[in-house]
Symmetry: C2
Subunit: 173 residues, 2 copies
């Protein structure tokens, strides 16, 4: 909404496309909070746009109060993220698992992260190509973070596999 008027649906799609790797919301969150934002005066919906083209779409727009609130929020120190890496939890219980299980998990994790690095990179190239049309500097910055993190994860998974195999060989000697 801060970028342009949006419907709840397009906000969801927007998040899926641009933010999915570090943020996600469900309709169960989006629709009620949009209503709340209107009630608080941070957004307004265009009633004239309702059923405009036979559709039930409701277009929301940010208000001046909303922009003010946004900049206030942006100034506040970002919350420390609460992570829950199930793969790490499982690895930490490695003693109770078969070696093969761990290697399989790490392999899948590595493959997934490799794919994500590629996705992020091609996303950044796409952005470069469209850089004249759309403001994309900040999207690229966040995508770059993805490249850094996913690469790190990929490398870690490789190293973890190596160490597990090495340890296994020592045991069998």
């Amino acid at each position: 909404m801060a970028h342009s008027p949006q419907t709840g649906y397009t906000i969801k799609k927007w998040i899926e496309n641009e933010y999915s790797y570090f943020w996600q919301e469900s309709y169960g969150q989006i629709y009620p909070t949009l209503k709340k934002l209107v009630a608080e005066g941070y957004a307004n919906c265009e009633p004239e746009a309702k059923f405009e083209n036979g559709r039930g779409q409701i277009i929301y727009q940010i208000t001046d109060a909303g922009r003010l609130e946004l900049t206030n929020w942006l100034k506040k120190e970002p919350q420390i993220e609460k992570l829950r890496y199930e793969i790490l939890l499982k690895i930490s219980f490695g003693k109770n698992a078969e070696t093969q299980t761990l290697l399989t998990h790490l392999d899948e994790f590595k493959t997934r992260n490799k794919r994500l690095v590629q996705e992020m990179n091609s996303y950044m190239v796409q952005m470069d190509e469209r850089s004249e049309e759309v403001e994309c500097f900040y999207s690229q910055l966040t995508a770059l973070c993805g490249v850094y993190v996913y690469s790190a994860m990929e490398k870690w998974a490789e190293e973890a596999k190596r160490r597990i195999l090495e340890r296994n060989n020592e045991k069998n000697e």
Copy 2:
């Protein structure tokens, strides 16, 4: 519990010490689930240990059924983690913020990640020193992941700052 008999309290402390960077639980989760585990037969508590030394501590132990369930769970593919990096959300709204705000956030993020890398490294050294006493191979593996990820984040924050400053200079020319 899979490692040794534990009270709810010691489980919490354990998680805080060993897992805090990738997992966290509150008492509000731990105590009810311990009871649930007993009800399902995956754990049992020692009633004879209750009030043993004047304390109300309840020591839980994993059962055979619990171990079986644990290995089954370990075999299952780890869930894809749902991340919520508020800092990335704020950066992506950079257009609506002052440059100084973004640089401050990135600076704090960088400092925090730098500190975490150091923590993880010293944790790994500690583990090395105690490697004869305790099984620590898997704890080290997960700590290593921390080193990789936090280093990546630190480097990204540095690069992001650099790009923002560079862009700012171009604008002012």
